[in-house]
């Protein structure tokens, strides 16, 4: 028993010592890299946002100027959706929404949609999806240009009833052998535009929440 | 007599019998050969020990080798003559090896050892005495393995036997020796069974016969009726191989399953072959040892297939000669039937107590050399296996030499009936793999025992060396002390000197010892 206690104390001491030295080093590294890591993380977010909202169009910090909204009907998810607001000289330039397409072939497709204040699309990208590789994954900008085709479109251009894939009588291409994925994406983007049309004023007026989920990671 | 219901077993095969070809002639005794080659081991257990010398004259029926231990059997001279040699000769065994045999030059006189009339009625003898007669007669099971019959007739105190099963199934194709015996000597079979019933104290006797032997069944039923025994039943079982397997037959007749790794006696049953029963009767009534048996000689490879009563030790060549000799067809000489028998490379091999059939197969009767494909796990073997095993798994693990797994899959419940290999579309010699695995496992067992013994001896040696070293040191110490004692008695002045001297001589002694040990 006695031996046990002494042994325990010795082990504790030694291991504790090692831990403290090790942790000291780690903590030191952390202190030295903290800034840089934060900057890198920020850069990643900004890069995603800038893909759908060109940086030269606005002068505010998108990451700081954001709110969270909820609209299961039009934004495709019950969870709060982050909206980043772009302004130039304080005037609204556009918003970046992160809606979801709930009816992808293999589940939800998370999108990031940039819309100018006039309702034109600044850009659309896919954040995450589980569509079939080689079939539905052509919605990634890496795999094909299809998603870039949204830029410049708006609710009137093409008219609302032609916001469908070609097979359903719309203006958007589908992929050979895969209609469902593009159909879901087109519908989600269209809904995002509708949402924006309904809520534009409110979106820009709401006070920035600052804290919140960082959606674009 | 009403026929009791039979309880079918799983698997098995319906095979073409080919029995007719050898039942056309009655059984006749075979000629006495010039030379009888009598193996010392014709049974399971320890080989017998010769009690005659080369050059010695022997009489028919005289013991020439005595059992070595309980599970062993005596061997008797099948005829009178001179012992010409005691040496290794080829014996009927799948290995094709030679084994110790006593070679007797026959004199043609067939002189018996004794022909007195001390033949008491067996009904007056007690079980012990009867069993002793069976033992002295060197009787071993004639239906297959050749297990010493007196051992089987002594199931031990704890195991009361209620049923004696007489195995007249003769389920293998081609073989008809038991059939002929039962046709021609049904009363002897019945009486022999009654002797064994008495020895065992069994309540009843069940005689199982396959349905394709109506003549034998008739003869036996007649004999039972004549004997007036109402505790004997002759039961017809379906002709489905291997209904003659001990476990299968017992199940067919009684519905009981012999426990795996157990004996029939565990469930109160003893099973004996019909020929064994006849031999037992001869032993107790005529005091005649087991020196001859009926052998079926058949197949497209012999001219006149038939059954012969053959002396143990007669070379196959002589026997086949008396069945008309070979035809051009003859390609394979099989000891036993086509399902379980083994082929021998030549015919200079003697008949033993367990050789029931010489099948000289023609080209079309046997499969040419097997050229197996891999197992496709079709499961045909599973359907066929009467032991309800998974032959393909056994094969798989035996092939991989995974001897633990193969035993998990109950290798030792396999009766080597060959049903699995017979149906295998890939033509895999499955049973060979099981035999291989079994013999490896036995060999490993022997090796393990040997290793354990070697280890004990090695450890004992190390301990001995250690002890010797300790003793040596103790001796030295003792000597040193003795020297000191002696010195103490001397004058005080001499004391120191003496002690120094003693120490010097002691250490020199020790050094010398170390030197001799290091070498």
């Amino acid at each position: 028993m006695d031996a046990g206690a002494r042994n325990a104390a010795l082990s504790a001491l030694l291991l504790g010592l090692f831990a403290m030295v090790g942790t000291g080093l780690v903590a030191l590294t952390h202190a030295l890299t903290r800034e840089r890591i934060a900057a890198s993380e920020r850069a990643v977010l900004e890069r995603a946002l800038h893909a759908v909202m060109p940086p030269w169009r606005h002068d505010n910090d998108l990451l700081a100027d954001r709110i969270a909204v909820t609209d299961p009907e039009l934004l495709g998810t019950r969870r709060p959706v982050t909206v980043y607001r772009a302004r130039r000289g304080g005037r609204p330039v556009g918003v970046v929404l992160t809606p979801e397409a709930p009816d992808g072939y293999n589940g939800r497709i998370r999108l990031i949609v940039g819309i100018y204040a006039d309702g034109t699309l600044a850009g659309v990208r896919v954040l995450a999806h589980q569509e079939t590789p080689g079939l539905g994954d052509a919605i990634e900008a890496e795999k094909s240009d299809w998603i870039l085709g949204f830029t410049g479109k708006s609710l009137g251009k093409p008219p609302l009833e032609r916001w469908r894939v070609r097979r359903d009588g719309g203006d958007f291409d589908q992929f050979t052998g895969a209609t469902i994925t593009p159909r879901a994406v087109v519908k989600a983007v269209r809904n995002a535009l509708i949402y924006f049309r309904h809520h534009r004023e409110a979106l820009f007026a709401a006070p920035a929440s600052g804290e919140g989920e960082e959606e674009a990671s | 007599m009403s026929v009791p219901a039979v309880h079918p077993f799983h698997g098995g095969l319906v095979l073409e019998g080919h029995k007719r070809i050898s039942t056309r002639h009655p059984v006749v005794p075979a000629r006495l050969p010039e030379r009888l080659v009598v193996p010392l081991q014709q049974h399971i257990g320890a080989p017998a020990e010769p009690v005659v010398q080369v050059g010695e004259r022997v009489l028919k029926g005289q013991p020439i080798a005595r059992p070595r231990g309980y599970v062993s059997a005596a061997v008797h001279a099948p005829s009178s003559g001179t012992v010409a040699a005691i040496e290794a000769r080829p014996v009927p065994h799948p290995s094709g090896l030679a084994a110790p045999c006593i070679v007797i030059e026959t004199d043609g006189e067939e002189r018996w050892r004794w022909r007195e009339d001390q033949r008491p009625d067996w009904r007056t003898l007690g079980p012990e005495a009867l069993r002793e007669r069976v033992r002295e007669a060197g009787i071993v099971g004639m239906g297959g393995a050749g297990f010493p019959t007196h051992v089987k007739l002594n199931p031990g105190a704890g195991r009361a036997i209620h049923t004696l099963v007489i195995n007249g199934a003769e389920c293998e194709p081609y073989i008809t020796c038991d059939d002929m015996l039962m046709r021609e000597h049904a009363p002897a079979v019945v009486a022999g069974a009654q002797v064994m019933q008495r020895i065992l104290g069994a309540r009843r006797i069940l005689i199982g016969i396959e349905s394709d032997k109506p003549e034998a069944r008739e003869a036996l039923s007649e004999a039972v009726r004549a004997a007036g025994a109402d505790d004997i039943r002759v039961v017809s079982v379906p002709a489905r191989y291997p209904s003659g397997g001990e476990r299968q037959l017992i199940h067919l007749l009684t519905g009981l399953e012999v426990p795996s790794e157990g004996l029939p006696a565990d469930i109160g049953v003893v099973c004996q072959n019909a020929a064994t029963a006849a031999a037992v009767l001869r032993a107790v009534t005529e005091l005649e040892p087991l020196i001859s048996r009926i052998v079926t000689v058949t197949g497209a490879g012999v001219a006149e297939p038939r059954n012969l009563e053959v002396l143990v030790g007669t070379p196959f060549a002589d026997v086949i000669d008396q069945a008309g000799g070979y035809t051009d067809e003859a390609v394979r000489l099989i000891v036993g039937g086509p399902m379980m028998g083994f082929a021998v490379a030549h015919d200079e091999v003697p008949v033993t107590k367990t050789v029931n059939c010489l099948l000289v197969a023609g080209r079309g009767e046997v499969e040419p050399a097997r050229d197996p494909l891999p197992c496709i796990r079709c499961g045909a073997c599973v359907e066929a296996c009467p032991a309800r095993l998974l032959p393909q798994q056994l094969y798989w693990y035996a092939r991989a030499k995974d001897f633990d797994r193969v035993q998990d899959y109950r290798l030792f419940d396999c009766i080597e009936c060959g049903c699995c290999a017979a149906v295998c579309p890939s033509r895999i010699p499955l049973v060979d793999y099981y035999r291989y695995a079994k013999s490896e496992i036995w060999a490993l067992e022997r090796e393990r025992e040997k290793a354990a013994r070697a280890r004990r001896r090695h450890e004992a040696r190390l301990a001995r060396l250690e002890r010797e070293r300790a003793e040596r040191e103790a001796r030295q110490r003792a000597r040193r002390e003795r020297a000191t004692d002696a010195a103490a008695r001397k004058a005080a002045v001499a004391e120191a000197l003496a002690r120094a001297g003693a120490r010097r001589s002691g250490s020199a002694e020790a050094r010398r010892h170390e030197g001799s040990e290091g070498g």
Binding site: A19, V26, A27, Y105, N106, R108, Q130 | W396, Y397, A400
Partner: protein, 193 residues
Amino acid sequence: MSEYLLILVSTVLVNNFVLVKFLGLCPFMGVSRKVETATGMGLATTFVLTLSSVCSYLVSEYLLEPLGLEYLRTIAFILVIAVVVQLTEVIVHKTSPLLYNVLGIFLPLITTNCAVLGVALLNAQTEHGLVESALYGFGAAVGFSLVLALFAAVRERLAAADVPVPFQGAAIALVTAGLMSLAFMGFAGMVRG
């Protein structure tokens, strides 16, 4: 309730830790030569994984996060795991020699099973609560044990196969694992996220 069921189905089948997520592969390859040992390993891992995901959760929730030390997660978790493993060993040894015979030799190996640390890290990353963490760990371990046991049975069978010489041993085992993960792709899309 159905949400918990979903976690289980997802971790056991759809996102099987070994075949889909690539965690715990060393024991998967190393301890799958015999079914018995594989089962033992599965049992031991299931126990440790469940327990350690709970402990990791507690350390993370009540120690690291309040202090803002998330960056020390890896170190803290691995220590917790090492201790859980060793204490399990000790307790099993003390309370049930029989169980110890079965599991004993596997326990030390679990510390370096990256599924264990992986579960802890993923729990922290996806901000699972206590019950979810435990379930997630349990599901992961069951998935691990399941494929480990099946794999071991397949490998036992391969022992007798006429595999081309260069592929004998590890190579064919990996090909087999590959075909297993091919089969597991059939579960893709079963749990919509």
